[in-house]
Amino acid sequence: MLFRLAILLSVIVTPVAAHAGTPVSLSSDVFVERNEISADGKSRITLTEPKRIIPGDTLIFVVRYENASSQTARNFIVTNPMPAAVAFVDDAGERAEVSVNGGRSFGALADLQVPLSNGGFRPASADDVTHIRWKVESDLPAGKAGKFVYRGRVK
């Protein structure tokens, strides 16, 4: 136990730096989703580069991962805090868990609760989400790649 604690402390005091040239890579990208009404009255959802965004716009955040090494990355987890100006919109996939308390705990949104000032709790809503976390089975085998996507609304 003492040993584990020591590891924890050392990790906190000197966070593990990203290894330069690490064979596992992560890239983040963002698109804006627009519902455009064409001249014939049909609506069409388009994803474009977020050159121009205003409150209410829907942003699609895409996180791509790849394990280009020859080693399995065990317990592979991707964590993405919600930017402060973005509200979580909907389910980010079956592998996603969300946090409504600043990342202290994660779970399915439907299972989470938010404390009230009167000591009670209310069911958490999408607006409460502070972090999203994804797991890939638990291990990411060598050579595997994929992406996670979540949708947010500009507050």
Partner: protein
């Protein structure tokens, strides 16, 4: 800039160094976060994800690149009338006040140009423009000489997101309007950045360095108010009855003629300073102390009551008459003998 560190739970209740995964997360927002009307223009939305896993030599943390999106300015003014209903005014009235509230529903500081429109269709008459006044002491009430007269291009309201200002539109009422006529007055606010179809954008014109985008308002909004004319008109009827000295009704010398003057006011308003007067007909002699108003006797002397006989005729100051009211004045003359 904040850094969070997250130990994660691991199933099976077993803790190991592997379980002590770290997700070093960084994010930052370079401007104030959301307001009621949305994230402020110029705010940077920065997103970074972090992967953690256990490599051959221990926990590894891989941050993604940071993607940054600048929030552009949304322009959306809203104008609403503050009046509970029609403003009542009399024909010829000046400086009739309509109040409006202009609110910046956008997410950036924005300047608005104001215009009052008096020549609207669909109403009974056009009030004439007087002036636009800004509620500079912010009490919601027009204070003549205190609130600031609006001069386009000089003191255009500049509103922060969610901020609002009360604007008064002053109008004059033509003297020719009649009771019940309604006239429309509207206030138009236009973004100084521009107006157009919703979604129109102005590159680089947004607060905070981004673009400016017109919201559903198209960068302009307006609302209207009405003034309703309230006035009354007076109709005067005169009738006479004759009583001759012989008990009949013949107009013979010595007969007494009783004149009845009835003033009827009609309309939703009232008429001030109503005076009923009549000259004594030639060939007749006024009967002293015969003057009455509403059945009550009046003296002939001036200044002591509403009625006077001035030697040539009778004058009765009725005063204010509201629509629907009647005033009856009677006096008697004798046909000269």
């Amino acid at each position: 800039m904040k850094t969070h560190i997250f130990p994660t739970r691991r199933s099976g209740g077993r803790l190991s160094s592997h379980a002590l995964l770290l997700a070093g997360i960084t994010f930052a927002v370079s401007a104030s976060p959301a307001l009621a009307r949305g994230t402020l223009a110029g705010t940077s939305i920065e997103n970074t994800a972090t992967a953690t896993f256990d490599g051959p030599s221990g926990p590894v943390e891989v941050p993604s690149n940071q993607v940054t999106v600048l929030v552009d300015e949304l322009i959306d003014p809203v104008v609403g009338s503050n009046d509970a209903g029609d403003i009542v005014a009399t024909p010829g009235a000046t400086g009739v006040v309509h109040g409006f509230t202009l609110t910046n529903n956008g997410n950036g500081l924005e300047e608005f140009v104001l215009t009052a429109v008096h020549t609207n269709g669909g109403d009974d008459f056009d009030p004439t423009a007087n002036q636009i006044v800004i509620d500079s002491n912010d009490n919601g009430v027009y204070d003549e000489g205190v609130d600031t007269i609006y001069v386009p291009g000089t003191n255009d309201p500049v509103l922060a997101p969610d901020a609002s200002v009360v604007v008064f539109v002053l109008s004059d009422i033509p003297g020719t309007v009649t009771d019940g006529d309604r006239g429309e007055v509207s206030l138009v606010a236009e973004s100084a950045t521009g107006t157009g179809a919703p979604g129109t954008s102005f590159a680089g014109a947004g607060e905070g360095g981004g673009d400016a985008v017109l919201g559903t308002s198209g960068g302009t909004d307006n609302d209207n108010g009405f003034v309703v004319v309230s006035s009354a008109t007076i109709a005067l009827l005169k009738s006479a009855t004759i009583a001759d000295p012989f008990g009949g009704a013949e107009a013979v010398p010595g007969a007494i003629i009783t004149y009845t003057l009835t003033a009827n006011a009609t309309g939703s308003g009232s008429v001030n300073g109503v005076v009923i007067s009549d000259l004594i007909p030639t060939g007749t002699v006024y009967q002293p102390a015969s003057l009455t108003l509403a059945g009550a006797a009046l003296t002939d002397a001036a200044s002591d009551d509403a009625g006077t006989f001035d030697g040539t005729g009778v004058v009765v100051n009725v005063g204010t008459m509201a629509g629907g009211a009647s005033s009856v004045v009677t006096f008697q003359v004798k046909i000269a003998e």
